[in-house]
């Protein structure tokens, strides 16, 4: 099968700081890939480079064979890269339903005329969008918060709003930046279940950054380890878990379990 996403020899400098060095990645349809590494290793930067927030200094990025380097973020997103953010970028005055509705933007079939005068096409499409939004909110267990302002939600629910919103863009690959950060053990178990279900229901490929090794072990079929912007080891999780370099660099002398 041809790869969904292929990143080759990507390097990025912030001024003099080399944040990512000669990075390569291939994601095939339906894969779940993990990216681990200590704080400040450059994991989020890799997400930002692929999703077009920053343009890499060097390297190529292809989505389904199409070069996306230098493309606008919203364009890349509408081509099938959905994402969540490590530090929760929600729209603070808006309720949960609107979050999910807005993420349907690139699928809108009506124009400005429809928006101003309320054309029948707009009405029928917005009804569809609303229905789909409720389906997604149910899946992520946030349906009960639908008309609540998002800042009033518990932290775990806010993370799930971000995921529901990302799924509403109909991604081919879902990028999750530390989806379990700050979650309780119960919520963590729930999150594993949700991610599995999303993966099965939508057949979406997933690329996730995570600190908790247990979580990575359970979900990913392939793991990359990033240290100071460079991949020091990659392979199936069992291998990575026992790789001495990874243990050394990533967690000091502790065993990765």
């Amino acid at each position: 099968m041809p790869p969904l996403l292929s990143v080759k020899a990507m390097t990025h400098y912030f001024g003099g700081l080399c944040a990512v060095k000669n990075y390569n990645l291939t994601i095939k349809p339906g894969q779940i890939i993990g990216l681990i590494g200590p704080n400040g290793a450059g994991k989020t930067t890799i997400f930002n480079l692929i999703t077009g927030v920053h343009t890499p200094t060097e390297g190529t990025i292809e989505l389904e064979g199409r070069d996306i380097v230098g493309m606008k973020t919203h364009k890349i997103a509408s081509l099938g890269l959905g994402r969540t953010f490590q530090n929760l970028l929600l729209w603070r005055h808006m309720n949960v339903l609107d979050h999910v509705r807005i993420a349907h933007y690139s699928q809108l079939k009506y124009g400005l005329f429809g928006a101003f005068f309320g054309s029948p096409r707009r009405k029928s499409q917005e009804a569809e969008i609303e229905e789909n939004s409720h389906r997604l909110m149910k899946l992520f267990n946030i349906d009960q918060f639908a008309d609540q302002t998002v800042v009033n939600l518990p932290y775990g629910a806010q993370r799930r709003v971000e995921m529901a919103r990302a799924m509403a863009t109909r991604p081919k690959i879902l990028f999750l930046d530390e989806p379990t950060a700050g979650m309780t053990p119960d919520e963590l178990v729930h999150m594993v279940k949700i991610i599995r279900q999303v993966h099965e229901d939508f057949g979406v490929a997933i690329f996730l950054i995570e600190h908790r090794m247990k979580f990575v072990m359970e979900l990913c079929e392939y793991v990359q380890t990033l240290v100071f912007g460079e991949i020091i080891a990659e392979g199936p999780p069992e291998e990575i878990q026992h790789n001495p370099d990874v243990i050394e660099a990533y967690l000091g002398k502790e065993d990765l379990t």
Binding site: K72, H74, W91, R101, I102, S106, A115, E126
Partner: protein
């Protein structure tokens, strides 16, 4: 406090139709019996703005004014609303089963009847009502940019000027004999039919003019809009002052009398309707997304630049329409109208009424306008009282009186007896 709540609870069962019927009775009463009743209270004539202006000049007449207001407005409204409640509720139930647009139009017709009768008493009232409606257009449209989209634009007076001059040029050139353009080119009878096009042309010129602000401001992220838009306002003003062909600093006058009450009312309703449609659509909600977090909006496929440009041009269009109506209501414009004072007024109405709310903008525009008229005898002190009120609102309600609330027609018009 308790008595007030009790008193209010008597009227919970009154639907919108009931209040409108009550108000209609009151204005009819004033229309036919206003003069004798005002003489009864020792008033020289029907008080123009509920007596607010009169009271400031003659404080001793306060009891008379209160008596008049109670007899003409308060009692009839409350009594009729309460007594007819079973009837109006039945009517509301019937209307609830019809399409929402039909029931909305019926209510609007009744509402129009009220303001038409009320403003029929004298020309001053008519002028206040028209100017208030124009303010509503200005406020709601600026709320799209400053509230829904969270920018800070200062160029609304500039857009208004563009609209006023563009539409005046059309009507003067084709349908009026005036000093600048000479004799009319087309028969004057066609004028009223062409007026909507002149107004739309005014809006379009303003929308195109807004690109001068929008293109440089939205090219990069950052807060240049406030400064660029302020500069734009001054540039428009001095450009007009220096163009003798459109009257220079003396302005344009003798616009034909096309902006009648129904015309202004019509445009106000269309403005509120389209803006409401826009900001409640998924496409329009992206304005809020851009305001609350632009990178997140970007990552959720929203074309943020297009969104900002659209909203800005849309807001400018309506400011242009408001300008066109303004010019034809006063039948005279000059560039000095469209300066800092106008800007301050519009901004005050937006921030007083409430951000991100059409409902709030309507309340803001009406209250600041009526307050401004009522305090007119205070002259300069008016500009101390209004800012003070504004500061108080900002302290206790940072987003304005009624913020983040959308109009819900269905809820507003439904029967209240269940």
């Amino acid at each position: 406090m308790e008595t007030i709540t009790k008193f209010k609870s008597i009227f919970y069962g009154v639907p919108m139709a009931g209040w409108l019927l009550g108000a209609f009775t009151a204005v009819m009463l004033e229309y036919f019996l206003g003069d004798p009743i005002s003489y009864l209270f020792d008033l020289p004539k029907i008080p123009v703005l509920f007596g607010a202006l009169f009271v400031l000049k003659h404080p001793l007449m306060i009891p008379s004014i209160i008596g008049y207001d109670i007899v003409i407005y308060i009692l009839p409204i409350l009594l009729v609303a309460k007594i007819t409640a079973p009837l109006t509720n039945a009517l509301a139930s019937v209307l609830e089963k019809t399409p929402l647009w039909l029931s909305t139009i019926i209510h609007l017709c009744l509402f129009y009847g009220i303001i038409d009768t009320w403003s029929g008493i004298n020309d001053y009232r008519l002028l206040v009502v028209k100017l208030t409606m124009i303010s509503i257009i200005l406020t709601v449209s600026l709320n799209v940019i400053n509230g829904y989209q969270g920018e800070f634009s200062c160029s609304h007076p500039g857009f208004m000027a563009l609209g006023a001059y563009a539409s005046s040029t059309i009507t003067l050139l084709f349908f009026a004999n005036d000093k600048i353009f000479g004799a009319a080119l087309l028969p004057a009878a066609w004028g009223p039919w062409a007026f909507p096009f002149a107004i739309i042309a005014g809006g379009a010129v303003a929308a195109i003019g807004s690109l001068v602000v929008a293109i440089p401001s939205f090219r990069t992220r950052g807060d240049y809009l406030a400064i660029i838009s302020l500069a734009f306002m001054f540039i428009v003003k001095s450009a007009i002052e220096n163009m003798e062909i459109i009257g220079g600093p003396r302005g344009m006058s003798s616009q034909p009398n096309y902006a009648s009450l129904p015309v202004v009312f019509f445009w106000t309703i269309v403005c509120i309707w389209t803006i409401h449609n826009f900001v409640t659509s998924v496409m329009g909600k992206t304005l809020n997304a851009v305001r609350d977090n632009e990178p997140a909006a970007d990552s959720m496929t929203v074309n943020t630049r297009k969104t900002k440009m659209t909203a800005f041009m849309f807001g400018a269009f309506w400011a242009g329409v408001a300008g066109g109506l303004f010019a034809h209501v006063l039948r005279y414009v000059n560039p000095s109208t469209f300066g800092l004072q106008k800007l301050a007024e519009i901004l005050a109405m937006v921030y007083f009424g409430g951000l991100n709310s059409i409902y709030g903008s309507i309340v803001g525009a009406v209250s600041i306008n009526v307050l401004g008229e009522a305090l007119r005898p205070l002259e300069l002190f008016k500009w101390i009282v209004i800012p003070l009120i504004l500061i108080l609102v900002m302290i206790f309600r940072p987003y304005g009186l009624i913020s983040f609330t959308e109009i819900n027609m269905k809820k507003m018009l439904r029967p209240k007896n269940k």
